[in-house]
Amino acid sequence: MLSELLQGTDTGGLLIIQDSSSCTGRHLLKSFINAALNREENIHVLGFEVSEEELGEGLNTSSPQRLCFHNAYSDPLGWTDHLTFTVHQFCLDELTHLVKQTSQSKPATLVIDSLSWILRHLSPPAVCKTLQQLKRGGAVRTIIGLLHADMHQKGTVGSVCHLATSVINVAPGMKGDEAVAKITKRSKSGKVMQCEEIFSIKDDLTVIVQSKPSHLEHKQTDPEEQQMDPTANLTFNLRLSDTERKAKEKLALPFVFSKAKKTALLHSGQGSGRILYEPDANDDYDQEDPDDDLDV
């Protein structure tokens, strides 16, 4: 699923790359930028965390006018009077104006590096509102944002990811250059797809997706081992031959009653008990009253 997301066929969505201090997501973000550049799309990058030179390292620079970097790294809060992008300009009108200024032909992709920086200075409801408005408006084709999950409270991360159409959670993998991506994608019909993949990024920012992580395979072998047949490899015989089976079925069970007695026992709902006596072979059950011939 990571490759499909990299191809960027869905429009009007918000993709969030969640990372943490143990594994950075910026390389994956750069891969997304590179893939979009290769598709000849216009990209606007709001750079709060790294400078333009550092972000531009390794990117496909064949057509530099497609990548528009808005420098919010040197002066994000607008303390000096230089004309840089400040965090307070993160609202719908300013961003639409900014995007329309430079690319008129087709809607651009907006890359935000990073959303965490904006969330530290603006209130989360305002940021969510702006993201939702950007998603719905036509000025921007897709929004890709980087979010450092360990920098915020759980509720903030949850609220922002609740708005997203796709969330990629990056975690460190088993080997050095590998990372595990847990992807959750919401389609327009409301269906949610989830998947976990191991990937690694080469120097030219192409992503190689490997198979699913191996710890899932361990769980599958365990229940198979338990289902060994316990009746195999025994020194005594547990099976029945046909005659033995017939004799077994003919055997009279100790508490088998006649049908009348069974129905009586099953359906006696009147409350009081009734004594049902069936005379055994040894009983001498004489219906006559022995006191009848007493002449008293």
Binding site: G155, T156, G158
Partner: protein
């Protein structure tokens, strides 16, 4: 025997031949009969169907008019949204009026996705498995040879159903036809379209909730849903659907921060909403993304402020998805609150373990019961998985996978 009194003008059909008094039972004054409602068999309240018949059964026959149903959303808001749409679709079919408010999606989009009703079939669900009757002893006696005493005990009934059908069934794969939908009157409140005015009064409610409450109050008053209103025309019910209250898009930081600044905004709003509904012929369904709200005490007070409260927990994405116990279901349903309306004790559902499954023609809620375990080692392991005890080291040491063959 009292002396007969000739009461002129009284209908004589009420008096039988032996009844010589003129006592007549006072009939219920002004029993409002509105299409799509019925009186409750327990306390006489007027009930409205939620659109999901199993949910109606769980909350005591239906939603009482003038109450609020709180639905705590599941993680990706798929099933709670489905119940929200069922509620609105039921309103369209019963010809009630609708009021839909949302901050994330346009209410028009929600209304276009309503499921199509199945109008021709009367009873869709299979008849409930009856316990074996005593009129068929022959078959029952042949069935069990050794355990024949257990034959007449009823089988475990997992499906929840009541005897009388109330509410309709919907086909999820089709959307409602535009003609049916446009026949119903809908009032919309889409938050981005309402300009926020900063209020001068320092109320604990934030502007978006105040605007919503004002808009609802205005609709109720204008369309004549007040109980006190003396409109001669036939009465109708207003179904209010409020989607995802408490999420960040309403301007509330309840779901963003652990200690929210507007901690009393949503609770004040719910208090005002319930007061408004008690004096009008309206029902409300509110969905809240409770998985984002970290303050459990606040979630508890939100639950207490609504009359009915259920929570949906879907298996998607959690480790329970692969648990074989839950393979037939899509998620668990928890009933957190049932209403006390003019009574001391309320009708609690007798089974607390409930699971739901969204099928094409029905949203079923069933009792989750463990099937008999016939293998020796599975029972201990699955109980441990259910309780989530894999990380807890218990005294018996059965937490780790290596020792699961120890069976005492």
């Amino acid at each position: 025997m009292a002396a007969p009194m000739d009461s002129v003008g009284k209908p004589s059909a009420d008096r039988s031949a032996f009844n010589s008094t003129s006592f007549q039972k006072k009939t219920r004054s002004k029993l409002i009969s509105i299409p799509g409602t019925r009186p409750s068999v327990q306390n006489g309240q007027l009930l409205v169907s939620t659109g999901v018949t199993s949910l109606d059964y769980l909350i005591g026959g239906g939603l009482a008019v003038g109450t609020v149903l709180l639905i705590e959303e599941d993680r990706y808001d798929s099933y709670s949204r489905m119940i929200f749409k069922y509620f609105l679709a039921e309103g369209v079919v019963c010809r009630h009026e609708l009021f839909v408010a949302a901050a994330q999606d346009n209410p028009d989009d929600i209304l276009q996705e309503l499921p199509a009703p199945i109008l021709d079939d009367v009873a869709i669900h299979k008849p409930v498995d009856q316990p074996r009757l005593s009129c068929e002893p022959q078959d029952s006696l042949d069935a069990m040879k050794i355990a024949w005493r257990y034959q007449n005990l009823p089988k475990v009934q997992s499906a929840l159903a009541s005897t009388s059908r109330f509410g309709h069934y919907y086909d999820v794969s089709k959307t409602m036809e535009p003609e049916i939908r446009q026949a119903a009157k809908c009032h919309r409140f889409y938050l981005p379209e309402h300009p926020t005015q900063s209020s001068t009064t320092h109320s604990p409610m934030i502007e978006s909730y105040s605007a919503l409450l004002k808009s609802l109050q205005e609709v109720i008053h204008r369309e004549g849903f007040d109980i006190a209103a003396s409109m001669p025309k036939s009465r109708n019910i207003l179904r209010v659907g409020l989607h995802s209250l408490g999420s960040a898009l309403w301007g509330d930081d309840l779901s963003c921060h652990d200690n929210p600044r507007h901690s009393h905004a949503l609770t004040t709003f719910l208090y005002g909403l319930r007061a408004l509904l008690r004096s009008s012929l309206a029902v409300a369904v509110v969905t809240v993304p409770s998985h984002l709200i970290q303050d459990r005490a606040l979630m508890g007070s939100i639950t207490r402020l609504c009359d009915n409260a259920i929570a949906l927990e879907s298996f998607k994405g959690s480790e329970r998805e692969t648990n074989p116990l839950y393979k037939d279901y899509h998620g668990l349903l928890h009933v957190h609150q049932v209403p006390h309306l003019n009574c001391l004790a309320s009708q609690l559902p007798d089974h607390k373990d409930l699971a739901f499954k969204l099928k094409r023609k029905q949203f079923t809620i069933e009792r989750l019961h463990l099937p008999p375990d016939l293998s020796e080692t599975v029972s201990r392991v699955s109980r441990g998985e259910l309780a989530g005890a894999t990380t807890v080291a218990s005294a018996c040491g059965s937490g780790t996978s290596g020792t699961k063959h120890l069976d005492f």
